[in-house]
């Protein structure tokens, strides 16, 4: 058997809150050096899973190992080599940017001199050098997020856990975070993230899982998942009853959403011209299939929470 270095291993992982099962018998693994995504609608169990990996929420049952250690037995050792970017910024508003990092470095027992060096490097890395002495509450949303990212890197972590790292950020700030994550990955850091932005997941993740109702619905590489569930392309046309008959004859896979019909295919150009001739349509859009198509197909379009 080939031994691959599993940074995280979960088998039959369960988390219950009273009667409610937030994470329901989930199994997955994360390999060293990869970028791994948890996707899913609100309440799917992503954050709960993240919190169990971070050793702050005890599992109800199942196996969960990080760096080969059991999360309930070795929380301090695991957290020593982990960086965390939580969903909600929790910078210390009583401190400046610099003081936030210096104070945090103490929690990891980083000697003051070494901490000083790392703080300077990290401030350069996240481009906050000129905000060094600003109170953290006066930073913009994007700057706060960068500071939280810098803080998560103080201990030179092997694994970084990011819960919605770019939520609420403007495009510039999002791209900067992505760039930073890619450069961390190049250095061999393993990255686990949750996100609602499917373009983000598609761009960044080597592998991902889609969760829904506490279970993993699908697991794999983004392109492969799209191809398996949708095909490579999508043809969008205005919904009309005549078309339904036309499509049923051709045996294509399609979905009706409001006044739009989506046809999933590996050959969108061909289908488009075929539809144009046989069904006499005038408004046809063809595009590449995305993770968003898979997501909505698998988890449905009903609003959650």
């Amino acid at each position: 058997m080939v031994t691959i270095n599993h940074i995280i291993k979960a088998e039959g992982l369960v988390k219950r809150y009273g009667e409610f099962t937030a994470v329901d018998d989930v199994s997955f693994y994360v390999e060293e050096g990869e970028m791994f995504g948890f996707l899913g609608p609100n309440g799917a169990g992503k954050t709960t899973t993240m919190k169990m990996i971070q050793c702050i929420s005890p599992k109800t049952s199942g196996i969960l190992e990080v760096f080969g250690m059991d999360v309930s037995a070795h929380p301090r050792e695991i957290k020593k080599d982990m960086g965390v970017v939580p969903q909600e910024n929790n910078l210390d508003p009583d401190f400046t940017v610099y003081e936030n990092l210096r104070n945090y470095s103490r929690y990891f027992d980083i000697p003051p001199k070494e901490a000083e060096k790392r703080i300077e490097e990290l401030l350069d890395f996240v481009q906050l050098q000129d905000k060094k002495n600003v109170m953290s509450e006066f930073l913009s949303g994007g700057m706060k997020r960068r500071l939280v990212l810098a803080r998560s890197l103080l201990n030179n972590p092997r694994l970084i856990m990011l819960d919605e790292p770019t939520v609420g950020l403007d495009p510039q700030a999002r791209h900067l975070i992505w760039e930073k994550l890619r450069s961390l990955k190049k250095r061999g850091v393993t990255i686990v993230l949750t996100t609602h932005y499917l373009d983000e997941a598609e761009k960044l993740c080597n592998r991902l899982v889609v969760m829904d109702y506490g279970k993993i619905v699908v697991e794999g590489e983004p392109e492969q998942i799209i191809e398996d569930h949708i095909g490579t392309g999508v043809v969008e046309v205005d919904n009309n009853p005549k078309l339904v008959g036309c499509l049923q004859k051709s045996g294509l896979s399609y979905e009706i959403i409001g006044d739009t019909m989506m046809i999933y295919t590996n050959d969108p150009m061909h289908i488009a011209s075929q539809l144009n001739m046989e069904c006499s349509l005038d408004k046809i859009t063809t595009r590449k299939a995305t993770l968003e198509d898979v997501f909505l197909k698998l988890t449905g379009r009903k609003l959650r929470e």
Binding site: Y17, Q54, I56, S57, P58, P75, R76, E77, K79, K80, M82, V84, P86, E88, N90, L91, D92, P93, D94, F95, E99, N103, Y104, R106, Y107, F108, D109, N155
Partner: protein
């Protein structure tokens, strides 16, 4: 569920000092402002009550009224400092600032955080005592023989109120409800613990009640003895009461907070 889970003896780790240091650093950022209340309050109280109101009082147990209330002012300040530190301030750090969440993403665990908060609360009490002693001494109202012992004692007494406060922080559904323990527990103690008049004028039943359930009674008693420079063996009972209550509420507050925060 068994009630025993609230009485599990917590293990203390040296890392709790890092939480203490975090709070100390924040305190030191506004150190001048933070030193002002314990400096100014005794002056105001002594002028208004000690010397103003006191002008109409001959003496209590052979001392002037100002001399009688001066040690009580220290005791009250010790109570307020750690109680409010570990109720409102801890609640803000826990709930609004998410400081605890940030800390437990590191090798620290929640027990370290709570213990650090409790010892910091106790430290604030000791700081208040340290600032007040010279102020009161300047009025000539304190015997300096044992006066400095008040500081370590204030740490212990402060720890007790920190732990009691932390229990309320764990149990309160939101920050407004914290007004009830202040109104129903802290304020009556401020008034009826032998602070501004001797307990013995109260009905006997209330005196017993005060000794059994109002921690401030014991704290006033010991600080008063230290301030008068006259220690007696019977004070041991008050010291034991405080030690036992501190231990009990320390264990209870740690378990209540664990129960609240680990989900």
């Amino acid at each position: 569920m068994s009630y025993l889970q609230y009485f599990q003896i917590p293990e203390l780790d040296r890392r709790l000092l890092k939480v203490w240091l975090r709070n100390k650093d924040v305190f030191m950022k506004n150190v001048k402002l933070n030193f002002l209340p314990p400096f100014l309050e005794p002056i105001l109280y002594l002028l208004a009550m000690g010397f103003g109101l006191g002008a109409f009082i001959d003496d209590i147990d052979g001392v002037s009224y100002a001399q009688f209330i001066a040690p009580a002012l220290i005791a009250v300040s010790v109570m307020y400092a750690s109680f409010f530190e570990c109720t409102y301030s801890s609640y803000v750090r826990m709930y609004y600032q998410k400081t605890f969440d940030a800390i437990i993403a590191t090798p620290l665990i929640i027990e370290d955080v709570i213990a650090g908060e409790l010892f910091w609360g106790a430290t604030r009490s000791a700081i208040n005592a340290l600032v007040m002693i010279p102020v009161i001494a300047a009025f000539g109202l304190i015997d300096l023989k044992y006066a400095l012992l008040i500081v370590p004692f204030a740490f212990l007494a402060g720890l007790l109120f920190a732990c009691i406060g932390m229990c309320f922080t764990a149990l309160t559904p939101n920050i407004t409800v914290l007004e009830y323990p202040t109104l129903l527990f802290i304020t009556p103690m401020f008034l009826f613990s032998g602070t501004f008049f001797p307990l013995k004028v109260l009905p006997e039943a209330i005196q017993y009640f005060a000794f059994a359930f109002l921690p401030l009674t014991h704290i006033v008693r010991i600080i008063r003895a230290l301030a008068y420079g006259s220690l007696e063996v019977s004070l041991i009972s008050s010291l034991l009461w405080i030690l036992m209550a501190s231990f009990l509420f320390f264990v209870l507050s740690m378990n209540l907070m664990k129960k609240k925060l680990i989900v």
